[in-house]
């Protein structure tokens, strides 16, 4: 059924694409003379299209905040954790969770970071979240270690990458098929049983190119489970690309097939600690989490077609992602006669005899006796798919005597989540979880499915020093919810949403090195298929104003932003509320404003040694504009003027290096201000804040030329650990000090 549907849509999208191309071809034919595009330039052009931002070292005229972290920067620290990469990007707010970045929580410009559900996460320009429309929470996140570029896009240009346009987009770029024989073997080991093996090899023979790349990563985990046990993880990722270049007289084309498989098995938990236990040992894990385990597999098939002529190019991507996950984890006490949430218990274990008793059971120092003292472990088993076809056209035209850069795109996307949740009941007996013998109970059993058409049109015209861009994005979302539990056939919701999102931006070039930018666009976040239609979509008007300077050696970008959110929308997941009902809440009008500063300069110390310095600073403030009472656990009773939770006022990252031809030493100092854990009063974490955190990471490498390269790195050099979050249950630490030594051999 789905395959049939997408086949029909595929035909339609291809028809649209060829209609556009034929128009372009016709318009182009008069001017077309001999085309002598060589293979390399076609590939360069194609590779650029796989990214959002170009690699231009000169002044970017991008009318919006766009940050590129290229392969060179990623290689400096060889980060495997996306959080650590993004801390250097202005305007990014992160709530850490497991310390390894297995399931990141990333937001931009004040958007709630929970499961990165408010940003578009893409890999090679394609939505990569498990089901971006139907279940936006990104429980799957691509392997950071294999990426060759990370791009962060905020502001008006985000209008090209839906459906979430309130915050922006994160595009992760995988390795391109190399032009000639090329390979790498990278092995490393480190503290807490960390080990990584990463290799790739690729080549291009005549018009045919291929690449195969694999990463294996594991760790024993830095947490110490009471009574012993593994708290680590194992991840695998393998990717293959096959590419065929076809150069022609009129057009050059690239065909590429990408196949990928990834899996993870991690003994991860949502259970944190009391503040007192955290102070004694932040890496402790209570025995009640001894069976917690996440197990997922992800597979991906993507076919890209790229065609380019003198003044146009069209990139078409057909994609299918499948994701299956089962997270078996402690949900809480069975309750009934006496009820307390794990968050309440761990927030104040000495409050009364109830909390004290439950705390003792969690830690295994007392056994479960009464029915309500049994522990419920949930297996949140979910199956997702995400598939679609998208085609993007770029066209340069002279119209009415003016240069136009026209961009348009159309996408048909389908995604689905099927939940098959179950629960099991355990007794805490002699500091071990023992089944109470009862049958596994079915919990949430449903399906959410979305078909979505998206289009965007954007035109940039250049008038002297002024580049003006106007665009619009349209989304038509056809969403379906069905309760799949027996006898619940009438529990369904069909919902269609249509929206047009305009954007306008301008860049004024002051000189070859400096320019000013301004942008305004409408932000939008759809509701999930099962949300009651009374829950509004999130909508906002986002403004930004700033300037750039780049003389090739020194660069500076300063951008102020103001997000005027007319209705803030949030939802409950286990990671935030400790419940999985996915209920969403209206938060009314909210203002978020801030300042983003990035700068870089390279000092030449000697003929051989440079000292690059860069910094990234973000100031953000936010406030609810109305007072209201909310059932959302991160809000509570809001008084106008309250700040958003998990949004630090100040964030700073300073990167220093010493770089020579053969060796380099790099240090990054990161400061993240304290964050409120609840916006208003009347909820468990009201008045609670995370601690401000300063972390220093270092890396160094020495290149033995044909014998390879040896590197060492230290994450959190000074071993400073603070509470990064008390959600969903109890205090959770940042990653402790971790050393790593590795060897890379390129061939």
């Amino acid at each position: 059924m789905n395959n049939l549907a997408i086949s029909k849509k595929l035909s339609l999208v291809i028809a649209i694409q060829f209609a556009l191309v034929s128009q372009v071809s016709a318009a182009d034919s008069d001017a077309k003379t001999d085309v002598t595009t060589d293979k390399t330039s076609v590939n360069d052009s194609y590779i650029e299209k796989m990214q959002i931002i170009g690699h231009d070292a000169r002044l970017s005229k991008q009318t919006g905040s766009a940050t590129l972290i290229d392969e060179l920067e990623l290689e400096q620290f060889k980060f495997d954790d996306i959080n650590r990469v993004l801390y250097s990007v202005p305007g990014v707010n992160i709530r850490e969770e497991d310390g390894y970045g297995l399931r990141p929580n990333i937001g931009f410009r004040g958007a709630t970071p929970e499961r990165s559900k408010k940003i578009n996460i893409m890999e090679d320009g394609v939505l990569i979240g498990p089901a971006p429309y139907s279940a936006a929470s990104a429980y799957y996140f691509p392997m950071t270690s294999k990426m060759t570029a990370i791009e962060v896009f905020k502001g008006p240009a985000a209008i090209k990458y839906g459906p979430n346009t309130v915050a922006g987009s994160l595009n992760m770029v995988t390795r391109a098929v190399p032009q000639s024989s090329e390979g790498l073997v990278d092995v490393s080991g480190g503290s807490d049983g960390f080990a990584k093996a990463h290799a790739y090899y690729g080549d291009t023979i005549d018009n045919f190119g291929f690449l195969i790349e694999g990463v294996h990563m594991r760790a024993d985990g830095f947490k110490e489970l009471d009574g012993g046990g593994d708290t680590g993880f194992e991840k695998n990722d393998i990717m293959a690309k096959l590419r065929y270049d076809l150069a022609g007289d009129a057009f050059d084309q690239v065909f590429e097939l990408k196949l990928a498989y990834a899996d993870e098995n991690s003994n991860e938990t949502y259970l944190g600690l009391t503040d007192a236990d955290f102070a004694a040992n932040p890496n402790r894990r209570y025995v009640a989490s001894q069976l917690d385990n996440m197990d997922w597999t992800h597979s991906q098939v993507q076919f890209n077609h790229f065609i380019t002529g003198d003044n146009f190019d069209v990139t078409t991507r057909v994609y299918r992602n499948d994701f299956e996950r089962a997270w078996y984890k402690i949900n809480g006490f069975k309750g009934g006669l006496v009820n307390r949430s794990l968050q309440e218990i761990l927030a104040d274990p000495d409050k009364d005899e109830v909390n004290s008793r439950f705390y003792n059971i969690l830690t295994g120092s007392q056994d479960s006796v009464a029915e309500y003292e049994k522990l419920v472990l949930g297996n949140n088993d979910r199956t997702y798919y995400s598939q679609g076809i998208q085609s993007d056209l770029n066209l340069q035209l002279e119209l009415f005597g003016m240069q136009h850069q026209f961009a348009s795109g159309v996408r048909f996307h389908q995604d689905q989540i099927e939940r098959n949740h179950t629960t099991d009941t355990y007794l805490m007996t002699q500091a071990n979880l023992v089944s109470d013998g009862s049958d596994t109970q079915a919990a949430t059993t449903d399906r959410e499915k979305t078909d979505a058409w998206s289009v965007y049109l954007q035109d940039t015209i250049s008038i002297s020093a002024l580049d003006i861009t106007a665009g619009v994005r349209g989304e038509y979302i056809d969403a379906h919810y069905q309760n799949r539990a027996p006898g619940s056939e009438q529990d369904y919701l069909n919902k269609t949403t249509r929206i047009w999102l305009p954007s306008f931006s301008a860049f004024y070039t002051l000189s070859d090195n400096a320019g000013l930018l301004f942008g305004v666009h409408e932000g939008f976040l759809p509701t999930s298929p099962k949300q009651d239609p009374s829950i509004d979509v999130e909508s906002s008007i986002n403004y930004e104003l700033g300037g750039r300077y780049n003389d090739g050696n020194f660069n500076l970008e300063l951008i102020g932003f103001f997000n005027d959110i007319s209705n803030l929308k949030e939802g409950c997941q286990f990671s935030s509320c400790g419940s999985d009902d996915d209920t969403e809440f209206n938060g009314g009008e909210v203002d978020v404003l801030g300042l983003e500063l990035t700068s870089g300069y390279s000092i030449t110390l000697t003929d051989d040694i440079d000292l690059p310095i860069s910094l990234s600073y973000t100031y953000t403030e936010s406030e609810f504009k109305t007072s209201f009472e909310s059932g959302f656990d991160m809000w509570g009773d809001i008084t106008a003027g309250d700040e958003l939770p998990y949004l630090p006022e100040n964030q700073l990252a300073v990167n220093l290096g010493l770089v020579s031809d053969q060796w380099d030493v790099n240090m990054i100092v990161r400061y993240i201000g304290e964050m409120k854990e609840a916006a208003g009063e009347g909820v468990v974490l009201s008045g609670s804040t995370t601690e401000a955190l300063t972390v220093v990471d270092m890396s160094a490498s020495y290149d033995f030329n044909q014998y390879g390269l040896v590197y060492v790195k230290a994450d959190n050099l000074f071993d400073t650990q603070e509470i990064v979050s008390r959600r969903p249950y109890g205090a959770r630490p940042s990653k402790p000090q971790q050393f790593q030594i590795g060897y890379q051999y390129r061939f």
Binding site: D352, V354, A370, Q441, I461, K495, T496, I499
Partner: protein
């Protein structure tokens, strides 16, 4: 005539302006079972139902609890006077026994009203994880050793160097649970089995221990009465929860709709499911895990020392009956009839009456019945389950109400 650049700019601006006018639109259709129905369809006066339950049922019960808890203070003080006199050999055993019996009866009167209040857990009794409720009655959480320790701490007016303040003590060390232990326990030995024991207790005479326990009981009774008054204050008055229930749907009310407030009252009824049925009957019957594993366990009945468990259950059922029928005024039964579900109204009335008759027919305590006539207790459980099954299904569905989370699954 416009120049070409101006023409382009104008066209971009017009396009943007035109498109910005296309706002978001959402349309939907839902199945009959999707979500919670917002309200019922009849013109039943739900506001009148709330007003009657608040003014005619709940407020009088809360007021009665203030009254009986006040009497309890007097009766325990009198018992303490008798105990002191007895210790000083200035009175005889008969006077002491009479004072003790009066104090015990006063506790029974107080817990009997409280068991009706238990069925009316709303607003101030639920806030902060039921903090106020737990201060008055912490069951099933008890701490006999904790009470023994506090008897001595109160006597010495010292908690780790700080003057003793009962208001800051944890719930299981005070309240009606502690009073039962202090007034009914025939043994004067302490109940601590660990290394921490009440200082000097083992070296004291029973008469001295009686006085110490009684004086702490008097303090606990005073605290109960104080908390009972707090309950009434937070319930009644212009800013009270009862008033906000009655003003549901009005501007400034914390309830957006009247039906939302009706749902709060309906939530309270499900105490009969998660506490009365599961906690007071299924647990000691061994249908749920208990202190004996999963066999019959007399240790886990409510009010085991005073042997007041079945009376407690009876009071729960009487309060359920009052809330369901509205006594003399509008009740949930009238609402069901108005919603064309007279069958459910009748069946629920009958099932409550059956369960009440069963509980009133006990000739022995629940503990004794568990040993001598387990079938009778099982029948009581079945009678109560017959009520809760009806509440969870027809009652909820006919009145478009939402089931509270604690009763969402069937724990049976």
């Amino acid at each position: 005539m416009l120049s070409q650049p101006r023409y382009s700019l104008l066209s971009i601006a017009l396009t943007a302006a035109l498109l910005s006018g296309c706002n978001e639109s959402t349309s939907s259709d839902a199945g009959a079972d999707y979500g919670n129905q917002d309200n019922t369809t009849s013109d039943f006066d739900q506001k009148a139902l709330i007003a009657n339950l608040v003014d005619g049922v709940i407020t009088p019960t809360f007021e009665q609890f203030v009254s009986v808890s006040n009497q309890q203070v007097s009766d325990i003080n009198a018992y303490c006077t008798a105990a002191i006199a007895f210790e000083q050999d200035s009175s005889d055993n008969t006077s002491l026994t009479q004072a003790s019996d009066t104090a015990q009866q006063s506790w029974r009167n107080t817990i009997s009203v409280w068991q009706q209040v238990e069925m009316m857990q709303l607003g101030p009794l639920l806030n902060d994880d039921g903090a106020l409720r737990n201060k008055i009655y912490s069951w099933p959480v008890t701490s006999r050793c904790g009470v023994d320790l506090d008897v001595v701490s109160f006597e010495n007016n010292d908690i780790n160097g700080v003057p003793y303040d009962i208001t800051s003590r944890t719930p299981a060390r005070k309240g009606l649970v502690a009073l039962e232990y202090l007034l009914f326990n025939p043994s004067f030995e302490h109940s601590c089995t660990g290394t921490v024991t009440p200082a000097g207790w083992d070296n004291r005479t029973d008469d001295d221990r009686r006085v110490a326990r009684c004086e702490f009981a008097a303090e606990a009774a005073k605290d109960i009465n104080h908390n009972a008054q707090q309950l009434l204050i937070q319930w009644s008055g212009d800013d009270g929860y009862g008033t906000s229930l009655k003003q549901a749907g009005e501007t400034g009310s914390s309830f957006a709709t009247v039906h939302e407030a009706v749902n709060k009252l309906s939530d309270a009824l499900f105490y009969i499911d998660s506490v009365t049925k599961d906690g007071k009957l299924a647990t000691p019957l061994g249908l749920f895990a208990n202190s004996c594993g999963t066999s019959v366990c007399v240790e886990d009945v409510e009010s085991p020392i005073a042997k007041h468990s079945i009376e407690n259950i009876t009071r729960n059922l009487e309060a359920l009956d009052a809330l369901f029928s509205g006594k003399e005024g509008l009740g949930f039964d009238d609402y069901l009839i108005d919603e064309n579900d007279a069958d459910t109204a009748t069946e629920l009335r009958e099932r409550i009456a059956t369960a009440l008759a069963n509980s009133r027919s006990y000739q022995t305590s629940l503990s004794d019945a568990l040993v001598s006539d387990e079938a009778k207790v099982t029948a009581t459980h079945s009678d109560v389950k017959a009520v809760t099954d009806k509440l969870k299904n027809e009652f909820i569905n006919s009145l478009a109400l939402e089931l509270p989370q604690t009763s969402a699954g069937d724990n049976d």
